[in-house]
């Protein structure tokens, strides 16, 4: 016979609230990220099927535009090299932007209710899910990185740069996943979220510097690229992986700010989604 359950301590000595909150946030985020990796380990189908689209972008669009020299790149860089970080960011975007659908699915099957009944603040739950989307996106980005290398793109293979690129993808994906979860909190239905996701994905992609430098864009599109977090993610990736000139402090600050704002907004709407 097992021992009777001990009553959990209620007023025991606890670390300061801020430290405890950060620890909790880190613990929950790590938990949900580890489970996302476990899901990827159990079923790698998505990893392969999702590689098709970026492969086409690199092989068809990238190779073609490299040959016709239609787009002037900084420092005369081959267009395929310039494009590769943009396709990495795009792959991550396409995964993260539909993450809210999973949240609605979890709501429909009672999983969200049960998670909300655990000692997990909503912000920690949303942050965990946002970065779990980042982990899934990162696995996809690794596939694109390998593919682009095979096609001859010359990346800077230094561990700190690769780690930095991983951080940029995680932050960018966390923003887009939390944007998706925010929309989920507003529309509360899978069909509506799917429609909105499809409506905003391509504009987000085209109104960024993923495909071509902002200098060749009309001024109103340039204005959009400046407020589009995808542009900062692509800038950071180009600086880290290709060594192109950039402002990494600004890029990471923008990504961190966007991810924080996105997680805060999604947390506020999580109760509405669950009710």
């Amino acid at each position: 016979m097992s021992a009777a359950p001990a009553a959990p301590p209620v007023d025991s000595a606890e670390p300061p609230a801020a430290i405890a909150a950060v620890r909790l946030l880190g613990s929950r985020t790590a938990t949900l990220c580890l489970l996302e990796l476990a899901k990827l380990r159990h079923d790698r189908t998505e990893l392969y099927t999702r590689a098709v689209q970026p492969a086409l972008w690199l092989l068809v669009f990238g190779e073609t535009f490299t040959r016709i020299h239609a787009i002037t790149t900084p420092g005369g860089l081959p267009y395929l090299d310039y494009l590769a970080p943009g396709i990495m960011a795009q792959s991550a975007l396409f995964i993260a932007i539909f993450y809210g659908i999973q949240l609605i699915w979890e709501r429909d099957f009672g999983i969200l209710t049960k998670l909300l009944a655990t000692p997990t603040p909503r912000v920690a739950l949303v942050a965990g899910k946002a970065f779990a989307a980042g982990v899934r996106a990162l696995s996809q980005v690794v596939v694109v990185l390998v593919l682009a290398s095979v096609l001859g793109v010359r990346f800077l293979w230094s561990p700190p740069r690769l780690l930095g690129a991983g951080a940029a993808v995680l932050l960018g994906s966390a923003f887009f996943a939390s944007l998706s979860m925010t929309i989920a909190g507003v529309v509360r239905s899978r069909d509506r979220l799917m429609g909105i996701g499809q409506a905003i994905t391509m504009p987000l992609f085209f109104a960024s510097n993923a495909l071509y430098p902002t200098a060749v864009m009309p001024p109103w599109v340039q204005a959009i690229t400046h407020v589009n977090p995808l542009s900062y993610e692509v800038n950071a990736l180009r600086w880290l992986l290709l060594g192109l000139p950039g402002n990494p402090a600004l890029d990471f600050a923008a990504l961190l700010g966007a991810a924080t704002a996105g997680i805060a907004a999604a947390s506020l709407l999580l109760g509405r989604l669950a009710s």
Partner: protein, 271 residues
């Protein structure tokens, strides 16, 4: 300091819950003693799940208080959550993860210390008889196994209060019986309090120490099943008690479409 053991496990006082113009729970007061199996009975839409949502801190009442081991569910949300193991009405496991991973998730979410975690997960899975299939994806489990896995998730934190919302819905008679034998066995073994909702009257009669009959958000009767049956004459059952109090005799108009959908969805998933 630890939570005093002499307080009731659950104490509702003048509880009111409203959804817009609809009063789902109306001036509800009841207590559940520690170690008791208490059943909230009632038709669809009676307010059972709303009460469960208040107990589990998912819903704040419009008026009144709900205390769990003396802690106010509105003010001490996180402390209350740490005392509760919860099985929602719908199936709530992740089919893309194994049984072990599903249980491990809840060990992490309840901050089971790292050095104890593996042992506690294995213990919880063994308690529900899933230790032999813990490495299999949960999507390959039968309906009864899924419910037992959910029970393992709820037990891994060693809760003092187990909250079960319509736990046997959609299960075949054998799986229902097996689930209840396990719940009662674990209640005795772990000295837990169990708060459950059901609309299976026979189940309530056999399993609950006391029941509360909820109709239109109000508590119409409370007591031991035999105490409630006695005034209706020899041979009376909880079914008769239910009919006696539910004067309209039908629950067809009660419960929202969402309630019905949820029930059907769960039944479908359980096959």
């Amino acid at each position: 300091m630890v939570v005093p053991l002499s307080r009731p496990a659950v104490a509702a006082r003048g509880l009111v819950c409203e959804f817009g113009p609809v009063r789902a729970v109306d001036d509800l007061s009841f207590e559940v003693a520690e170690g008791e199996v208490f059943g909230l009975l009632g038709p669809n839409g009676a307010g059972k799940t709303t009460v469960i949502r208040v107990v589990t801190t998912l819903l704040k009442p419009a008026a009144g208080t709900m205390r769990v081991f003396g802690l106010d569910t509105r003010r001490s949300t996180m402390r209350v959550r740490r005392l509760i193991g919860y099985l929602p009405q719908q199936l709530s496991i992740d089919g893309q993860l194994t049984g072990y991973e599903n249980t491990w998730l809840f060990a992490r979410l309840y901050d089971v210390p790292r050095r104890e975690r593996r042992g506690r997960v294995e213990e919880a899975l063994a308690q529900v008889g899933l230790d032999g299939v813990a490495g299999r994806l949960a999507s390959t489990y039968s309906g009864g196994m899924v419910r037992r896995l959910e029970l393992a998730q709820a037990l891994v934190s060693r809760p003092r209060l187990l909250v079960l919302d319509e736990p046997s819905i959609g299960l075949d008679p054998l799986a229902r019986r097996s689930l209840w034998e396990r719940v009662l066995g674990l209640r005795d073994e772990l000295d837990m309090t169990v708060l459950l909702t059901t609309h299976y009257m026979d189940e309530a009669e056999r399993l609950c120490d006391r029941v509360g009959l909820l109709l239109d958000g109000r508590l119409r009767a409370i007591g031991r099943p035999r105490e409630l049956e006695a005034p209706l004459g020899p041979g009376a059952t909880m079914e008769d008690v239910f009919r006696a109090y539910a004067s309209d005799g039908s629950d067809e108009d009660k419960g929202g479409l969402r309630d019905v959908r949820s029930t059907r969805r769960t039944a479908r998933r359980l096959g």
